[in-house]
């Protein structure tokens, strides 16, 4: 392992997730979050020397949608920059790499996009290979249902188990002011909701949501000045898998397992269960259970607390859901989670994902103390 720099999350601002913001376009939503995140850190835009963003043209419904975001990220004069056509959690990963090279000390990481303007079921069909999988009309809910069915068949899990997990996340979401779903719902109620795509019920899935997110990273030396309780990144790793649904064991997440092992090793931890809080980018209860299995966690356990924010089941703004997990981990460690705070949280795992059936996973391990001396 090469010598690494201690880098921390020092600021995080998120627009509350809503079904549709009727008043603002995506960049207008983002501008406020960039300002808010900088204000948290007590700095002006000039203090940040790198910027990275994640978004997708097809969700914007236009080519080069991300170019307009430069105008609200403070890109004047020109800033060292990279845009990733990915969930913004991967933009954070890249910004972390960039700080590791020593070329930058601080970075803005932005995620944005108005999912409500398009029809994600149709749009995300286009992520699949055009010859075999997109051509038969698969949509993200159907691929998630295929995955859920394979997992249920292997583990013996039932509809009641999915309902129970969804209900727990709904209860947690009710305590998070930025979550989209605020009304708790019992497992019984959720189990009565109609099928979205069987074996997934509508009550188990997040509705279309949108937000805008800005997170600030800073290296040791600057981080302490920008935040009284920085969330130090102790380990991170990301892995993609082959896409073909029938070419991998859909009931497991080999990528999340490997990324977790590598991130934990970097962090000097033996097991994921040694952390206090876990935020998982799981958009169905089955995905959450698959991730827990991959990471060696108990999805129903009390500690570590899993998705105390309600997680994506309480709000899933595409292209930033993963970055919000990292932001939530920061809120927990920095004592800024308020109503959904986990008492005494000192270590956290944040997970981001994109693609059908958890194709691509990034895993962060954070702590309230520096990793490297």
């Amino acid at each position: 392992m090469p010598k690494l720099r201690n880098v921390a999350v020092v600021g995080f601002a998120q627009a509350p997730i809503v079904a549709r913001d009727e008043h603002r376009i995506a960049t207008e939503m983002l501008y406020e979050q960039v300002r808010a995140a900088l204000a948290q850190c007590g700095v002006e835009r000039e203090a940040i020397d790198y910027q990275a963003a994640g978004s997708a043209d097809y969700l914007d419904g236009r080519p080069f949608g991300f170019v307009a975001a430069l105008d609200v990220m403070g890109s004047w004069p020109a800033k060292a920059d990279l845009h990733l056509e990915m969930d913004a959690s991967f933009a954070a990963y890249y910004a972390w790499l960039r700080i590791q090279t020593g070329d930058s000390d601080t970075a803005l990481v932005c995620g944005y996009g108005k999912t409500s303007e398009g029809e994600p079921e149709r749009v995300l069909n286009l992520q699949l290979d055009p010859y075999y999988q997109a051509a038969i009309g698969l949509d993200p809910t159907s691929t998630a249902a295929l995955q859920a069915s394979a997992w249920m068949a292997r583990t013996g899990a039932t509809d009641r188990d999915l309902a129970a997990l969804a209900a727990r996340r709904r209860a947690a979401g009710a305590r998070n002011p930025d979550a989209q779903l605020h009304d708790p719902a019992s497992a019984e109620d959720l189990a009565q909701t109609p099928w979205a795509v069987e074996p997934l019920r509508r009550g188990y899935l997040p509705p279309v949501g949108e937000s805008a997110v800005c997170l600030v990273l800073a290296a040791e030396g600057k981080a302490e000045k920008m935040c009284d309780r920085p969330a130090w990144i102790r380990g991170v790793d990301q892995r993609i898998e082959l896409q073909t649904l029938g070419g991998r064991d859909l009931s497991r997440s080999a990528g999340a397992k490997l990324a977790t092992e590598r991130a934990l090793a970097m962090a000097g931890l033996a097991r994921a269960a040694e952390v206090d809080v876990v935020e998982l980018c799981a958009t169905t209860p089955a995905e959450e259970c698959i991730l827990c299995e991959a990471m060696g966690l108990d999805a129903a356990g009390a500690r570590p607390a899993i998705n105390p924010s309600g997680g994506p089941l309480a709000g899933n703004p595409l292209m930033m859901t993963g970055l919000i997990r990292l932001g939530e981990a920061f809120r927990q460690l920095a004592g800024r989670a308020d109503g959904h705070g986990v008492a005494g949280a000192r270590r956290a795992i944040a997970h981001g994902a994109q693609g059908h059936c958890l194709q691509h996973n990034v895993v962060w391990v954070l702590g309230d103390e520096r990793r490297w001396t």
Binding site: Y58, P77, A78, Q127, T244, G255
Partner: protein, 383 residues
């Protein structure tokens, strides 16, 4: 933390208006296989993959790197997908360099591609933004007004663009991978239809299918490789906002900032004297003169004179785009990486029939958006 990185493998496809013989994956693998072969490596030697391409609308597949992960040998590896408009190929290569310079990765595969024949590029590049009158007709329609402004500002003669195009074709004729290789005369260009006045057909890049792949390695890994690598002396990518009052799209500030960063990083104080050849992103012939100024090879208003004097031709003082450049091959997403890869081939001494004699230091450059994104590197034959 200032670790060095080097290019140890370069691969590119045959570029053509339609590569009907291969799928998207086949096209990408043609470039990757050549880059790996060049580096004496196999997929298993690669620690991470960085993929770049321009708008997904060009092929009708969203985030195609997801279905291409298997084709790229990326299964269970780290991968990121970059999109920075026209500069994307170059910023993809630079993102791979970042990976290596962290010390966490020994060898990273950078891949960029476009299969423009599978969609309608003119449509995909003419965004009908909501609530706005759709007037911009493709990239040419966007950039033509700034070409006009350049001509008005410098009072240059009208043959500069055509001369640039003729020279590009001459160079492209020596590049076995180029899409357009047939020579053109000044009259051919002057008499070609005016598509977006003042830009003529003959001054315009083609629409190509193509891919490029580079293997970027750490210093130790590069020294173990079978060939002499191209050492990456510096690299930078910058972007600037669009609606800034007075923002100069003829010579954008972001381009100057980025150039300054790579020159400083490489210890270059006089680029005209210290750089032996440059591959710069010229999708419309007039941009060669514009970028020569923006990149600091001459004073403002003097770029066209370099071309008029022929100082940017093969065998002259500073050969520009010995490969023929974007004017001869333009698989959009790959075009920026081709510039950086061609610069690397020059300092490796392996550019074949379009090799610049004795090239030791080279610039690779790309730009994108409304002249907002810039990505460049300086490569050298010495550490």
């Amino acid at each position: 933390m200032s670790r060095q990185a080097a290019v140890v493998g370069v691969g590119q496809t045959q570029h053509a208006s339609r590569r009907a013989d291969v799928s998207i994956a086949g096209l990408v693998r043609e470039a990757v296989d050549r880059a790996l072969l060049d580096a004496g490596l196999e997929h298993r030697d690669i620690d991470a993959v960085v993929v770049g391409k321009a708008p997904d609308m060009l092929e009708g597949v969203m985030q195609p790197e997801q279905f291409l992960a298997g084709a790229l040998g990326a299964h269970l590896k780290p991968l990121i997908r970059v999109h920075t408009a026209g500069s994307v190929g170059a910023s993809t290569a630079l993102a791979a360099v970042t990976h290596v310079r962290t010390g966490l990765f020994e060898r990273v595969l950078a891949v960029a591609f476009e299969k423009q024949s599978e969609g309608n590029a003119m449509w995909a590049l003419s965004p009908n933004l909501p609530f706005t009158q759709p007037l911009v007709a493709g990239a040419g329609g966007y950039f033509a007004p700034y070409v006009r402004a350049y001509m008005a500002r410098t009072k240059c003669p009208p043959h500069i663009g055509p001369m640039t195009a003729v020279n590009a074709r001459q160079n492209g004729g020596r590049n076995e991978y180029a899409h357009l290789r047939e020579p053109m005369t000044l009259d051919d260009v002057m008499n070609s239809p005016v598509l977006w006045d003042p830009i003529r057909y003959g001054e315009t890049c083609p629409s190509s299918d193509g891919a490029c792949a580079l293997v970027i390695a750490s210093e130790e890994a590069a020294l173990r490789g079978p060939r002499r690598p191209a050492w990456i002396r510096s690299g930078a990518s910058y972007a600037e906002a669009m609606w800034v009052p007075g923002r100069d799209q003829v010579s954008p500030r972001a381009g100057k900032i980025c150039a300054k960063a790579v020159y400083e990083g490489a210890g270059i104080t006089n680029p005209w004297k210290e750089i032996d050849t440059a591959e710069i992103y010229v999708p419309f012939a007039w941009f060669e003169a514009m970028w020569l100024e923006n990149l600091g090879f001459c004073d403002p208003g003097e770029g066209w004179k370099i071309i008029d004097r022929g100082e940017q031709r093969m065998g002259a003082h500073l050969p520009i785009n010995p490969s023929g450049g974007v004017l001869c091959s333009n698989p959009i997403g790959a075009s920026g990486m081709l510039r950086l890869g061609e610069a690397a081939l020059q300092v490796m001494g392996r550019a074949g029939a379009h090799q610049v004699d004795g090239a030791k230091t080279a610039l690779g450059h790309a730009y994108g958006g409304g002249s907002q994104y810039f990505a460049m590197w300086i490569v050298s034959n010495e550490r």
